[in-house]
């Protein structure tokens, strides 16, 4: 079994920003629906709770939390010995450690 050449390329986007985007969009949509577009029938279904509004607000907070986390703990690209291994930090893999 030949060992493939080891690459230390850190070449991905930050997933935390994608999660932030997802929850911010979902949060805005649900909050708006909760504030103005949830029918009485919809409220009755959910035992009288405005679940769209509450869900939307929580999702907004989660979205903001992911954005802050990504912002405050940006990915550090490991300096590799190979010349092509140094990519800009905003284009790096995954996320910082949890």
């Amino acid at each position: 079994m030949s060992e493939p050449v080891k690459k230390q390329r850190a070449g991905l986007f930050d997933l935390r920003y994608v999660l932030a985007l997802l929850f911010l969009v979902y949060g805005v949509v649900l909050t708006v629906m909760g504030l103005g577009f949830t029918s009485q029938a919809g409220l009755d279904k959910a035992a009288g709770i405005n679940i769209n509004l509450w869900g939307g607000v929580v999702m907004l907070l989660v979205g903001i939390a992911f954005a802050l986390w990504a912002r405050l703990r940006p990915i550090v690209v490991p300096v590799t010995t190979e010349g092509d291994g140094t990519e800009p930090a905003d284009d790096a893999t995954g996320a910082g450690e949890s």
Partner: protein, 564 residues
């Protein structure tokens, strides 16, 4: 929507619900396209270039398993059996995940194998390797097809799309992002899917709890509706789940059958799971992968069995079905639990999130199968036996091509499953039997250097055959066990037979020379090579695998006491 007929599960999804679903698809495909930029070698494609941080692989680790089959099956268990459903998590998954992280991962990650079958190849040679690679590859494409068909059925039921449209559209999306971005795309999407599933389950649980009047209200309603309410409200001894009336035997069945053999077999040797950990960026991150995943795994069952129990008392159809003793041929069964809850509890808006969560769960399940299938096919079958010694970019191309082939076979399987639903159910049970003997073989192989290559291969075959035998005997009435109980017993027998036969065969055949077993067997591996770095980004007591592992075991034990 009003309740029309008792079997009408159609949701009245509005335009905004479709917008939320559509936005999710855009992100899924976007991740695939972005992940493509990082794929420049076969290792990038199949193992994300071993570059993933631990929280990402940890969430992907449980997400690959938290597919729709799991969500439907476990909410159904919640509705039918109640609290004992937790055993699948706190006795089942958690100890096995801790064992994987603490004991087995150093061998997997430290030996630099690229797949679970490859470990068998290094430890036992070609016989065991071929048996496992073929059975795994076959199982994964068929499971992908089963997932696809189940997805299509649910979309058809909930949204009214024709089954074939749902099959083609979802297969095309999964194919697009797995071919483009390989395992990275699959893993990133699994993490996103995890959060969407939580965003579906959490509101469902909260609304349901308010509706039944909190936990005490739920207990009162369950007690009023069931003659065996006590069994449904306490986790132990779980006789209603195992179908074993004797409480002591029932506990043994749960602890040994479910907890030890079935779960250890599944979590520690199923490559679709282990692959997520192998893609981690360091030994430390690889060991923490299952341990970090274990925490959300411990807690998420609360969002699964409680809604299941709630559904059995608030959904009139399901309550009637349960009161009637689950009659055969009913239009509504326990498997519709989650659909009924979504229909009855969530208004437009949150409804869109829930639909997205379900669709995401199915697609992630299929992607996990496809991305582990293409790896085993390319590395373990094609590169090892068919076309050897080609440059790496050749295998990257093979990987992409076989991903397409895998998806096409899955589509075919999905259409066949539409014709023979029961056969597919049975096949899936059957594949579950490969894991228990595999775990026995790994355990012996990792800790007993004498174990021979021949024993590895024959043990697997005999073990699997024993599990199938028990299952067939039970199906034809020779043994009288419940479905769940039969799975526990079949796995236990497979495990024991595998050990017995492996030991016997080992004593009469020649072992591998010790020099070839370094890094693969405990006693022959230098302790240093099983250690991980604990400096830099791996420093800190909260990143120590032992601390994480003990912590989650304590959490699971505490929850067990709460629901005793």
């Amino acid at each position: 929507m009003t309740v029309l007929a008792d079997a009408n599960l159609r949701l009245d999804a509005g335009p905004m619900d479709y917008v939320l679903l559509g936005f999710y698809f855009v992100l899924v495909l976007g991740i695939g396209a972005l992940a493509r930029r990082s794929v420049s070698s076969s290792l990038d494609f199949f193992l994300s270039g071993r570059s993933m941080p631990a929280w990402v692989t940890g969430l992907a680790f449980i997400s690959a398993n938290l597919g729709a089959v799991e969500i439907f099956g476990m909410t159904a268990n919640g509705a039918q059996y109640g609290v004992p459903t937790v055993h699948y998590y706190w006795i089942g998954a958690i100890p096995a995940m801790v064992f994987l992280g603490l004991v087995m991962m150093p061998f997997y990650y430290g030996s630099k194998v690229r797949s679970v079958p490859e470990f068998l190849l290094r430890r036992f040679g070609r016989f065991a390797h071929l048996v496992n690679s073929l059975s795994f590859a076959l199982a994964q494409v068929l499971i992908a097809g089963v997932n696809l068909f189940a997805l299509a059925t649910v979309i058809n039921l909930l949204l009214g799309w024709p089954t074939w449209v749902a099959i083609i559209v979802s297969a095309a999306i999964v194919l697009a992002y797995t071919t483009l971005g390989g395992l990275s795309a699959a893993i990133y999407n699994e993490v996103m899917q995890f959060f969407v599933i939580v965003a579906m389950l959490l509101p469902l649980t909260i609304v349901g709890m308010v509706k039944v009047g909190g936990w005490s209200g739920l207990v009162a309603k369950i007690t009023a509706a069931n003659s065996d309410a006590a069994a449904q409200l306490h986790s132990w001894p779980g006789s209603n789940l195992t179908g074993i009336a004797n409480p002591v035997l029932s506990v043994i069945g749960l602890v040994f059958g479910l907890g030890f053999v079935l779960s250890f077999g599944y979590w520690t040797t199923n490559f679709a799971e282990v692959q997520r950990a192998l893609s981690a960026k360091s030994m430390s991150a690889a060991r923490r992968t299952p341990l970090i995943g274990a925490y959300p795994k411990t807690l998420i069952v609360l969002l699964i069995f409680i809604p299941g129990m709630i559904a059995a008392v608030v959904s009139p159809e399901l309550a009637a079905y349960k009161a009637a003793g689950a009659p055969k041929g009913s239009a509504i069964t326990y498997n519709n639990t989650i659909e009924l809850l979504i229909r009855d509890l969530l208004p437009n808006g949150m409804l869109g999130i829930a639909i997205t969560g379900l669709v995401a769960a199915f697609m992630a399940g299929m992607a996990a199968s496809v991305s582990s299938f293409n790896t085993v096919f390319t590395y373990d079958l094609w590169q090892t036996y068919v076309v050897k010694n080609k440059p790496d970019d050749y295998y990257l191309r093979v990987g992409r091509l076989i991903t397409i082939v895998g998806c096409v076979i899955a589509i075919g399987t999905a259409f066949i499953a539409g014709q023979f639903g029961n056969i597919m159910d049975y096949l899936q049970t059957l594949f579950g039997f490969f894991n228990a003997p595999l775990f026995a073989t790994f355990l012996l192989g990792m800790f007993w250097k004498r174990m021979t290559p021949m024993a590895g291969g024959i043990g697997l075959i005999v073990g699997t055959a024993s599990a199938v035998t028990v299952d067939v005997l039970n199906r034809y009435g020779a043994l009288s066990l419940s479905n769940q109980g039969s799975a526990f017993v079949a796995a236990s027998v497979a495990f024991i037979m595998d050990i017995v036969i492996s030991v016997i065969v080992t004593l009469v055949t020649a072992p591998k020379p010790e020099s070839e077993l370094v890094g693969l067997v405990w006693s022959l591996t230098p302790r240093d090579s099983l250690k991980h770095s604990d400096t830099g980004e791996n420093a800190g007591w909260y990143r120590k695998p032992v601390v994480l592992g003990v912590g989650v075991l304590v959490l699971a034990a505490a929850l067990n006491i709460v629901f005793w």
